[in-house]
Structures are given as C-alpha cells and as structure tokens.
C-alpha cells in the first residue's frame, strides 16, 4: 500500500494535468456557455460543457503512461504497483472532483441557474438528483473516463499504432457482436426496456461495472508492456 501511495504522489508531481487542466477546461466552457446565454439570451439552452471535464480525464489517462511509466520502471517499480498507485490517485481525485461537481450543482440549483436559468452542472436524468447521487455518478463516470484513457495509453505503449487500430476495431466489432446477438435473439425490446426503466442510480451501477471491466483490461495490458 505504501508503494501505491508513493506512486500516487509520483504522479501528482505533474499536478497540472490532474488538477489544473480538468478545472481550467471546465471553467473555460462555463465562461463560454455563460457568454452564449447572456449575449444570445438562450436561457434554457442545455449545452454540454460539463462533458469537457470527462474528456480531459480521458486524455490525461491516455497521456499519463507514455512518460511516467518508463521512468517509474527505471526507479524500480513493478507494473502492478505503478498501475494500482495510478488508479488509487485517480479514485482519490475523481471522488474529490465529484464532490466539487455536486457542490457546484447545488449552487446552480439554489441560484436558479446562476441567476440566468442556466443548466451547466445539471444534466437531465443523469445528473439531476440529490447531491450524493450526483457525487456518486460523477465519481464513477470520471473514473471510467480516466481508466478507459489509461487502457488506450497502455495499448499504444505496448503495440504502438497497430495496437491502437486493432483496439479500436476490436471495440467496434464487440459492439457489432452485441447488436447482432440482440438481433438474433430479438432482444432489442428487452434492452430498450432495461435502459428506459434504468434509474440514474442503476445507470451508475452499469458504468461502475464497465469501469471494473476496463480496469481489468488495463491491468492485463500493463503486465505485457516493455519500456
């Protein structure tokens, strides 16, 4: 455990990527949405600026391994310690960031959308419930974005460009296989019902399961990475 904490601290040396960048992107998008609303009077516009923080977490996940893993291994870390320490950092940050997002959502709700009827931190159905549910969903979704990016980064480090292409094609094929299987067994109505009936908490559960699967995939990949 102490090695994992050291790895988390090691990653935090580049705190700009982990702390500044996601919130800077979010602040920029918030300002842009604010400008659009005030200038164009689109008070009810439900723009998707919030997605920027998830996008940044994905990108940070992709880029983090390329430089920090080779030096980490040079300093005598095992791939397992590096991976688990990095995931530990991600879980800590996404838990804190989720809390901030939930807090900002509460402020947005209390101020009637920043006095302008603006929707930025509230996303209908997904992120529009009580603060703890917003926290949980944000925490899980941010973790998913980071872990998915991490796996992409590891695939590139291990198999370079060809690996990236194969990884993309494999995901498309997997989705196609799911679609064809659903088609074959005429399962679409049931799938549709499953998602329609799914509550925000249920969706968070599905995202958590996907995150767990991505974590396993990333772990299996890093065990094969040479630097």
């Amino acid at each position: 455990m102490s090695t994992w904490i050291k790895v988390a601290r090691y990653q935090m040396v580049q705190r700009f990527n982990y702390v500044t960048l996601p919130w800077a992107a979010l602040a920029l998008l918030f300002a842009a949405q604010l400008a659009v609303i005030t200038m164009l009077g689109m008070h009810d516009a439900r723009l998707t600026g919030l997605v920027s923080i998830y996008a940044v977490f994905f990108i940070v996940g992709v880029s983090t391994v390329a430089r920090s893993l080779p030096f980490g291994l040079a300093l005598g870390l095992s791939r397992r310690s590096y991976y688990l320490g990095t995931v530990l950092l991600a879980l800590t940050l996404t838990a804190l960031d989720g809390l901030l997002l939930a807090g900002l959502q509460e402020i947005e709700r209390a101020t009637g959308g920043w006095g302008l009827g603006m929707f930025f931190f509230r996303v209908e159905y997904v992120l529009d419930g009580p603060w703890f549910l917003t926290w949980l969903t944000s925490f899980v979704a941010l973790t998913l974005a980071f872990v998915y990016g991490l796996w992409w980064g590891l695939v590139y480090l291990r198999w370079r460009r060809m690996g990236r292409r194969v990884f993309l094609v494999a995901q498309i094929l997997a989705l196609l296989a799911v679609g064809l299987t659903a088609d074959r067994f005429a399962a679409w109505p049931n799938i549709g019902r499953f998602f329609t009936d799914l509550t925000a908490l249920g969706l968070t559960g599905v995202l958590a399961a996907a995150t767990a699967a991505l974590l396993v995939g990333g772990y299996a990949t890093i065990r094969r990475v040479a630097v």
Partner: protein, 302 residues
C-alpha cells in the same frame, strides 16, 4: 555463493531479429563489471531484462536470488536509468526527489554533490536538458540510489572528457565506500578500462568473452624487436596484429608470459609492452585489429 545476477539460456527475439541468443552468465556481488560491445550488440536489452523493463523470450533470469519480474522486493534493489531514458515532464530537482522516494539507501548528500559537480540546473525541465546533461542526471540517480544492483547504460553518452573522468572518480569512490554490484554498459572501452574488475563482451547477442579484467590484460603482450628475434620468441605460439618495418617486427603474442619468457626477451633485446583492454577486446570481437586466424583468436578468448 548465489550470484547477484544469474542468467541461463536467456534469449530475446524481436520478430526476425535475435537480440540476445542463449546467454548464460553469472555476475557476482560487489564487483564492477563492464558490459562491452558495439552498438546493437544487445547490451541495453540485457540490462532491461535484468531490471524487468523488458521480457525474455526464453531462459531464466535471477536477480538477488529471485525473478525480478513484477517482484517489488527485488526491483527496489535495482536501478537502471538508460541512455534513452524517457522522463516525465518534470524539473531536474523533481526527478531526483521522485527517485529518493523509491530507494531505501538513497543519499541526498551524494545527489546534491553530484548535481553541483555536474552543474546540472536543478530548476530546468528535464526535457530541456542537453544529451550530456540528461546522461549526467541518469548517472546522479544511478549513483545516489546506492541500489544493490546498479546498472549504468552508456553512462558516458554526450559527456565531455572532464565529466567522464569525474563520473569514474565518483563511481570508484562511492563503490569503495559502499560496495555493490555495478554493471556498466558501454562501447567506449578505454573510458572504463581502469574501473573494471570483470568484462563481458557481447556481439550480435552472444557472449564472446566473460572473464576477470586482469586475466584479460595478462592474456597478451606486444613483442617488438628485430624480426629474427621476434619470430624466434613467438614461434609456435598464437599471435595477431603483426607489423613489420624493414628488419623490425612488432606482434601481439596471445599468451601469458612467465618469468622465463621475460628473461628470454631481455636477453634477446626484445621489448614487451602490455596490450590495452580496448585492443584485446576489439580483437576478441573480431574487430579491425584482429588479423589472426580463428585458432589464434581462440587463444585470446581462452
């Protein structure tokens, strides 16, 4: 006694290229070993596998008695900062701070001294360092870590002669104070010749020579004098690098000389000079200095 590093049948293949070909080698504790060979000989690949940065295609690797692969207890006792090391986007002082967290024997004092001596700019981003400064940073980490298995990959790359000498001096001084297993990979044999206790010569992924440096140094001597006397002296013994001008000849005699040989040489007014480690190793590798038959080369390798 269990060797610090033990390789058995180690092979690493990259598609159609054989980087390491059935290497078996033991590296003992508390010695400075030179891993020598041309560029592409397999030196870095071998070190990467020892440090578990790379995987073997076949064979067995034991470091400090166990496999280093995913073995935290062993890995924290190994340091390898490579010539082509990729660093995160951090400053020099951060890179050193990071290294200090992971090595139980880290010497902050030594690191500070080496940084000052190397004139490394602590506040500069590692990415903005010149090649030589980057090498110096790797050397600082390698030395200050005081890891039981300290691996240096091309520690002279980009360094000027003063910095190379300074590294040698520091390495020797710290090694004397804190003996450990040090392996230096380089193709600049002259730079390390005085440091080495053991030599391992790699060529095309195979071990050409693995012996004590003193044994190699004493394995040959250059004999010079009148052609007739030289020929009489070396008759029936393996030789290489024969040079003749008018009636004078100079030849490398690939054999250990005893006191009787030396007395005989003095009597015949022959001069006996040591052959540099560089020449011996280039010869062993079949390089440009080698002008012998396979038989005589075998004499040098023995």
């Amino acid at each position: 006694m269990t060797p610090t590093v033990s390789l058995s049948g180690l092979t690493r293949r990259y598609r159609d290229q054989l980087a390491l070909d059935d290497i078996s080698l033991d590296i003992e504790d508390a010695a400075i070993t030179g891993l020598l060979g041309r560029n592409g000989a397999g030196k870095t690949t071998l070190m990467r596998i020892v440090a578990a940065q790379e995987f073997a295609t076949a064979g067995r690797v034991r470091v400090l008695g166990a496999s280093p692969v995913e073995n935290d207890a062993i890995l924290r006792r190994i340091v390898l900062v490579r010539e082509d090391q990729v660093f995160p986007d951090v400053k020099v002082r951060d890179a050193l701070r990071l290294a200090s967290w992971f090595y139980p024997n880290w010497s902050a004092e030594l690191a500070a001294t080496l940084v000052a001596e190397s004139e490394l700019p602590a506040n500069r981003s590692v990415g903005a360092l010149s090649r030589g400064m980057r090498t110096a940073l790797g050397n600082v980490i390698g030395l200050a870590a005081r890891a039981e298995v300290t691996l240096f990959d091309e520690p002279y790359a980009g360094l000027d002669s003063e910095a190379r000498q300074s590294f040698n001096d520091r390495l020797l001084a710290d090694y004397t104070e804190h003996p450990r297993t040090v392996v230096l990979s380089t193709h600049l044999i002259d730079e390390v010749a005085d440091l080495l206790e053991r030599v391992v010569l790699l060529d095309h992924g195979r071990i050409m020579l693995a012996a004590a440096a003193d044994e190699i140094r004493g394995s040959a001597a250059r004999v010079s004098g009148s052609t007739l006397a030289v020929e009489r002296f070396v008759a029936g013994r393996p030789t290489w690098d024969r040079r003749s001008i008018v009636s004078q000849t100079s030849v490398v005699l690939a054999a250990q000389l005893d006191e009787a040989d030396r007395a005989s040489a003095r009597a015949q007014r022959l001069s006996l000079e040591p052959v540099s480690l560089q020449q011996l190793i280039v010869h062993a590798a079949g390089g440009p200095a080698a002008q012998s038959t396979d038989e005589t080369r075998g004499g040098t390798l023995a």
